[in-house]
């Protein structure tokens, strides 16, 4: 569009220039006529043709400018001409004068101009593009650095987010705002975590008091069966409260990185020990245990490894059915534990979140798997869940 408009405009400008020239030619001739009283001789000029034609007295003596095609006998080709036609009166002899200029040179000129223009535009585009690339890259560098730092930001990290300094006001502003928001979030997170930690710590004392009071209470020989039953229920509830509290404390401790000492652990040996410990629990539900254990080592904290296995094995018993089965498979970088249980899959998205329970009145506190997840997070391994019909639930530990 722009190009077409440009070409038309250019053509218009050039033609009006030619028209001006023709006008000047006309003025020269009329001036010559009025001065000398006769027509000037025709001078042969390149690209300009002048013809005189004597005519009768015309009705109007209007000047006419127009474009037309003519055959050029010299070049043997059609040429585009621009002519001016006017009538001059010399001593009552009317002469129709026609001055034509070839527009061929105009076309050539136009082509040249357009070519130069297009080349220039292309050149400018390329240069602009390159400069833009260079400048934009430089300009947006702080932005991408900010993005990168943001991406690496971890809410549970203790060190605050640090952005590189930049001279660009907008980005500095962005960094300041982001910094504020992130640090606020981090602070909130830490104070919340601290709160959980303190709350759990403070809860330990009253739990200890209740526990010791109950231990003393049952020494009373005069307790009725009814009262004994109440005490037993109180014990059970207290145990659950205590477990919950311990689990919350444990989660906080793992998050705080209090289990950072890492060593090589023989997982086969550890799994076998744990299986022995759980022996009574399997028997209690008449669960069949199948194991294929290969030699396997893992680098992690020993306490965490214990808790990980405790939780996974414990779940395999707790959520199992009577006369069910547990399959344990261990190889060099994979630990799979499969147990029979509910006959529908668990919600994988919620499974590892805190306080997720399949049934609300379950005895478990819903923290076991989030502890497992948390342990995996800090120990560079991953945990996944899969279900296979009709009732097999598997947890897959990879490292």
């Amino acid at each position: 569009m722009g190009c077409i408009a440009f070409a038309i405009l250019l053509r218009y400008v050039i033609i009006s220039q030619v028209d001006d020239d023709l006008e000047i030619e006309k003025n020269e001739i009329t001036a010559y006529v009025s001065q000398h009283g006769y027509l000037p001789g025709i001078i042969k000029v390149h690209d300009q043709y002048t013809t005189y034609k004597t005519i009768d007295k015309p009705a109007v003596t209007k000047t006419k400018i127009y474009t037309y095609n003519a055959y050029d006998s010299m070049d043997h080709e059609e040429v585009l001409l621009r002519s001016i036609q006017f009538i001059v009166n010399t001593n009552n002899t009317y002469t129709l004068i026609n001055v034509s200029k070839s527009l061929e040179s105009v076309d050539e000129l136009m082509q040249t101009i357009i070519l130069i223009t297009i080349t220039l535009i292309l050149l400018i585009l390329i240069v602009t593009f390159i400069i833009n690339r260079i400048i934009l890259r430089k300009l947006w560098k702080p932005f991408y650095e900010t993005l990168e730092s943001t991406q690496q930001f971890n809410l549970s990290d203790s060190q605050p987010l640090n952005f590189d300094n930049t001279d660009i006001d907008e980005f500095r502003h962005l960094n300041i705002i982001l910094n504020g928001a992130f640090n606020k979030a981090q602070q909130d997170y830490h104070s919340l975590k601290e709160f959980t930690e303190n709350a759990s710590h403070e809860l330990q004392t009253p739990v200890a008091v209740i526990k010791s009071r109950l231990d003393n209470l049952i020494q009373d020989e005069n307790l009725t069966q009814q009262q004994s039953h109440s005490v037993e229920e109180a014990y059970n509830a207290l145990n659950r409260l205590n477990k919950l509290n311990q689990s919350l404390l444990l989660l906080t401790k793992i998050e705080n990185g209090q289990f950072s000492a890492i060593k090589q652990i023989n997982l086969k040996e550890k799994t076998e020990n744990k299986l022995n410990q759980f022996c009574e629990l399997w028997q209690g539900k008449n669960i069949k245990v199948q194991k294929t254990l290969e030699e396997a080592n893992i680098e992690m904290n020993e306490n965490l490894a214990d808790m990980l296995l405790n939780n996974l094995l414990g779940n395999a018993v707790k959520h199992n059915i009577y006369n069910g089965s547990v399959e344990i498979h261990l190889n060099q970088n994979l630990f799979i534990i499969t147990n029979t249980g509910l006959n529908h899959p668990l919600d994988e998205n919620l499974l590892f979140t805190r306080f997720y329970k399949t049934n609300a009145d379950s005895e478990s506190n819903g923290l076991g798997l989030s502890i497992v997840k948390q342990i995996c997070n800090v120990s560079a391994c991953s945990i996944a869940y899969s279900f296979s019909a009709p009732d097999k639930h598997s947890f897959i530990l990879k490292w």
């Binding site: 710590h201 330990q204 004392t205 739990v207 200890a208 008091v209 209740i210 526990k211 010791s212 009071r213 109950l214 231990d215 003393n216 049952i218 020494q219 307790l223 069966q225 004994s228 039953h229 005490v231 037993e232 014990y235 059970n236 145990n239 659950r240 205590n242 477990k243 311990q246 404390l249 401790k253 209090q258 410990q277 759980f278 009574e280 629990l281 028997q283 209690g284 306490n303 214990d306 808790m307 405790n310 939780n311 414990g314 707790k318 005895e363 478990s364 076991g368």
Partner: protein
């Protein structure tokens, strides 16, 4: 023998004293750092139950003072700080044992008993309860003169019962003692019953009276039949 309970939580201190006091032990308590410090400098105790977080100072300083003055008192640290570092640090500072709050009183009873036994009788440790003789070094049990084979759990259980003789011990306390509190037992104590049943059977077969009495399904009491 005297036991000193250094614990700022008076309710807990009171419970501990109530549980541990019997014909064998006399308990005293201290609720803050200064009174505890005064008591340990004045008297000797068979065992000191020590809380770390005390008003007026750290329990660890009391422990250091005890060690510095070469007192032979056995020390059990009871602390709410369930961190491994605290435990290691406490034991390094010279404590004999470490127990995390909240604990069952029979557990504390068993630990106190074990420490006193170690301190008072040196290396030669033999426990005698009526017809039962336990050789702690060889971990052998003789009932009515007959050597009886016990599994590890049964042996632990028997020792636990004898350390807490004449006391009712809840099933939850037994489970925690035998399996540790890391294991999520989900309030299912059926398997405790299996072990107790087996232990009782072995003792009866050897000719001993039935010492184990079930108390309303709530717990068990190990005592001489009067």
């Amino acid at each position: 023998m005297k036991i000193l309970v250094i614990e700022d939580e008076e309710q807990l201190s009171e419970s501990i004293c109530e549980y541990l006091s019997n014909e064998q032990f006399v308990t005293e308590n201290a609720f803050d750092f200064n009174s505890a410090y005064e008591k340990i400098s004045l008297y000797d105790y068979a065992c000191i139950i020590l809380d770390i977080g005390l008003p007026g100072g750290s329990g660890l300083n009391i422990l250091r003072e005890l060690k510095a003055s070469n007192k032979a008192d056995g020390v059990i640290i009871i602390s709410a700080k369930n961190s491994l570092d605290d435990k290691v640090y406490g034991l390094k500072a010279g404590a004999d044992d470490y127990l995390t709050k909240p604990f069952h009183l029979p557990e504390l009873g068993a630990r106190v008993d074990a420490i006193i036994r170690r301190k008072s009788f040196g290396g030669k440790i033999k426990i005698v309860f009526d017809e039962i003789d336990i050789n702690m070094n060889e971990k052998t049990v003789t009932i009515c003169g007959k050597e009886t084979m016990l599994t590890k759990k049964e042996y632990d259980l028997l020792l636990y019962f004898i350390s807490n003789k004449n006391k009712v011990i809840s099933k939850s306390a037994i489970a925690e003692h035998l399996w540790g509190d890391n294991m999520d037992l989900a309030d299912n104590y059926d398997f405790i019953y299996t072990h107790i049943k087996n232990l009782r059977r072995k003792m009866l077969q050897a000719g001993a009276p039935d010492y184990i009495k079930s108390v309303y399904g709530m717990g068990y009491k190990f005592s001489l039949i009067k």
